[in-house]
């Protein structure tokens, strides 16, 4: 069956429903808690991290959907879970870069940072966006390759 060989390309094991469900819920709860903290404290630079946590949540939800389909996985959730779980940490990293900038300003210690605060955040956030885009493109290209490989078999 063509479908059989296709689905075997996606997962090399039986993906766990329970694990995917648990992390979907945990990342959702954490995002909600972060949104609450953001609104309460007006720390807007947490938007990046929150989007990251939400991408993790959606990624594991898609993985849960795949796990339920075992063994007849569909491509859509597979692409979603692969790409989102891969790129989400870049968004968490973006918030980390902004936090250092704020510590430097708050301690009045800009002269001790060998990259000026103005540039610091920009340089790291831009490099972060670039690696994010490369990762997303790569993951997408990889999915296409897997799919055509599966179709050929």
């Amino acid at each position: 069956m063509a479908n059989d060989s296709a689905s075997h390309k996606y997962y090399l094991y039986d993906p766990s429903q329970a694990a995917a469900a648990i992390f979907t819920i945990l990342f959702l709860l954490d995002s909600l808690f972060h949104i609450f903290q953001l609104i309460r404290t007006r720390t807007w630079y947490f938007v990046a991290l929150i989007i990251g946590a939400l991408l993790e949540c959606i990624g594991y939800a898609a993985r849960f959907q795949n796990a339920r389909q075992n063994p007849d996985y569909t491509l859509g959730p597979f692409i979603v879970q692969t790409i989102l779980i891969l790129v989400a940490p870049s968004l968490i990293a973006a918030t980390i870069y902004m936090i250092l900038g704020r510590i430097i300003l708050a301690t009045d210690g800009e002269r001790y940072s060998f990259i000026k605060k103005k540039w610091l955040t920009k340089i790291f956030v831009v490099s972060d966006v670039i690696s994010f885009l490369i990762l997303a493109t790569g993951a997408f290209a990889h999915m296409l390759a897997l799919e055509s490989l599966a179709e050929r078999n």
């Binding site: 094991y13 940072s113 990762l135 990889h142």
Partner: protein, 131 residues
């Protein structure tokens, strides 16, 4: 066993590796900038930093901790894609949940607990801790 003529590594996977290496490099430089700043501020405190030494150090250590988690995660991902499809990591689901899901969850939860809203540029740091 590395890339080379490994037939199982697609162009997409090579791009993913480039993206992961870029991320690891940026993180390495970031940690270097952070540690240097930390050391200099520690040995020559500013009048502002002296009033909140415990606080700024707490947030720096939090940054190191979370950065390490993302670093470990990215390194494991690099090894995963170097091994390619059918490699040990890709064929064992527990790696995803231990080195990605769990580490990233700890990363975001850490910022719930130690929330940087205490850091207020221009006003120093508030002493009000998030409850």
């Amino acid at each position: 066993m590395l890339t080379g003529d490994h037939p199982n590594i697609t162009l997409g996977e090579r791009l993913i590796l480039v993206g992961l290496f870029a991320q690891i490099a940026a993180f390495g430089i970031f940690i270097l900038v952070a540690v240097l700043f930390h050391k200099r501020l520690h040995s020559h405190p500013t009048s502002t930093s002296m009033t909140m030494e415990r606080l700024w150090k707490k947030h720096m250590y939090t940054l190191y901790f979370v950065s390490s988690l993302i670093m470990i995660r990215s390194v494991v991902r690099v090894v995963e894609y170097l091994q390619g499809s059918g490699g040990y990591i890709m064929s064992h689901e527990e790696f995803l949940y231990i080195f990605d899901a769990t580490l990233m969850l700890i990363a975001v939860v850490t910022f719930n607990v130690v929330h940087p809203s205490e850091i207020i540029p221009g006003k120093g740091m508030s002493n009000v801790e998030m409850s």
